[in-house]
């Protein structure tokens, strides 16, 4: 039995998601612990975003249960959402609003009172104090990503969900974002992220799940997954430079064919 301190911040059990006759997610189960970065990897259309959307409460699963910090996402959606912070793939803030206005909007929605000093501290922390009055639509991709992340954590959520957080970022911004994600883990947040980058998964994830055709193929630490699969012929044939990497294992397990 779990004690309070090792209770998972996210528990997904027997998740099935159907779009008409198409089974997007089949019997997916996993947990994310506090202070853990959990990566969900898979080719396009594998079911990553559907799984994430179900956790966010944006789509209703056919069957299965999802608990965020103990709250059932279907029965107590607002409580569950209050315990999670979400960084969506798209730049989904009103482009007319300034940085400060967006921060105040989401602070208000999450019930966080921000003083001017606290607001300035946040902007200083994400190195955007000189851009406080700038409209969101005028920020660069990296700056938007930093804003998006700080908003996802403005209420100190137990669980942080990130959908391909480093897509489109330059190497410097990507490294900086990884450091921020690791800092969140060190503070006790549980983090679930989806990514196409094997480098990212290896660099920051404590555990990963590889999902394909809506099913989880394997769950473990990146290193353990490499070790467990390094001798498989399909993994060896996917290897390009002799040394087996997570990408080789991923391609070996999910196939080399390009997905739509």
């Amino acid at each position: 039995m779990n004690t309070l301190h090792d209770a998972p911040v996210l528990r997904v059990e027997g998740l099935n998601i159907d779009y008409g006759s198409f089974h997007a997610v089949r019997n997916v189960s996993f947990e994310v612990q506090p202070g853990e970065i959990f990566g969900l990897l898979g080719p396009n259309g594998a079911g990553k975003t559907s799984t994430l959307s179900a956790v966010e409460g944006l789509i209703r699963p056919f069957t299965g249960a999802i608990h965020v910090a103990g709250y059932d996402i279907r029965r107590q959606p607002l409580y569950a959402r209050a315990c999670m912070g979400v960084q969506l793939q798209a730049t989904s803030f009103q482009p007319e609003l300034t940085l400060v206005e967006i921060l105040r909007l989401y602070a208000g929605i999450y019930g966080v009172n921000l003083t001017d000093n606290q607001l300035n501290a946040i902007l200083r922390d994400i190195k955007l104090e000189d851009h406080a009055g700038k409209r969101y639509g005028q920020l660069s991709g990296g700056q938007q990503q930093r804003v998006s992340l700080v908003i996802a954590t403005i209420h100190d959520p137990r669980l942080v969900l990130m959908d391909e957080p480093t897509t489109g970022l330059d190497p410097q911004s990507r490294r900086q974002l990884w450091e921020r994600i690791e800092a969140m883990r060190d503070k006790g947040h549980g983090i679930l992220l989806t990514t196409h980058s094997m480098e990212e998964a290896e660099a920051v994830c404590d555990r990963i799940a590889i999902i394909d055709h809506g099913q989880i193929i394997t769950i473990d630490s990146p290193q353990a997954i490499i070790e467990d699969n390094r001798d498989r012929p399909e993994v060896i044939s996917a290897s390009r430079k002799g040394k087996i990497t997570l990408e080789d294992v991923f391609i070996g397990l999910t196939g080399a064919a390009i997905r739509s």
């Binding site: 209770a7 944006l58 959402r81 209050a82 989904s92 967006i102 105040r104 137990r158």
Partner: protein, 269 residues
Amino acid sequence: MSSTASSPALTAIAPGTLLPAPRTLPSTSAVFSALLRADLTTQWRNRRASVMTVLMPVIILIAWKFLIERLGGPFVLANSITIGLNAIGLMGYTNSIARDREKDIFQRLRVAPAPNWTIMASRLTVQLVMIAILTIVIFLVGYQYDHVALTATGYVAGFLVAIVGGAVYLALGQAIVGGLKNPETVNATSRLIYIAFIMVGMFGEMGALGAFMNKAVKYSPYGTVNSIVTGALVPGTWTAHTTIALLITLAYTALFAILGIRWFKWSNK
């Protein structure tokens, strides 16, 4: 960082420490107030578009000065208000919803602890503010330029009925944005309906398009709204026909709202 009693504080937490879960949620009024402030700011930043929305009926009001003796001041005021309500519901509201849906702005709000109804209620409140501004501007221009003076009851009743009339076009806009996904298609469709309402509505109501169209327009969303606004501006002229127009207006609103809510998807994906 301080927080309300309902949410955890953003303080540094030692590694491995379990973060606190919220005991209660932020109050609905706090959520609504944050949303409304942001939506009003967005509307203000798009004020050029808002000015254009109000400008069209004002131009018609000024241009129709010579018709006041023939058609009556309240009728001309009501026509201008109806055209403005059309623009607010069909152009302003519909296009802003289509754009924000396309940008996933709604999805971002929906993954926060904001009840869905507060997101839409905030948007509708902004449109009510626009309707109030439109009505006041029309009253002022009508008084100053066309010398159309109403009784205090007429102004108040006209103001309230304008909100009822505006609801038809907001509901129609909701049905359009519910039935269509692509923002460009939404924009083109709402423009087409807007222009059709104005052209057919105005000319049809004056009898320029024949007896059949005159009758058809009377029972269209344009004609019924025009009727009730005209009736409200001069309460003494409110007849059984105006009451029927009011009932039809409410029926249109209910129909479009039901369709709009049933069809509406928060995301285009």
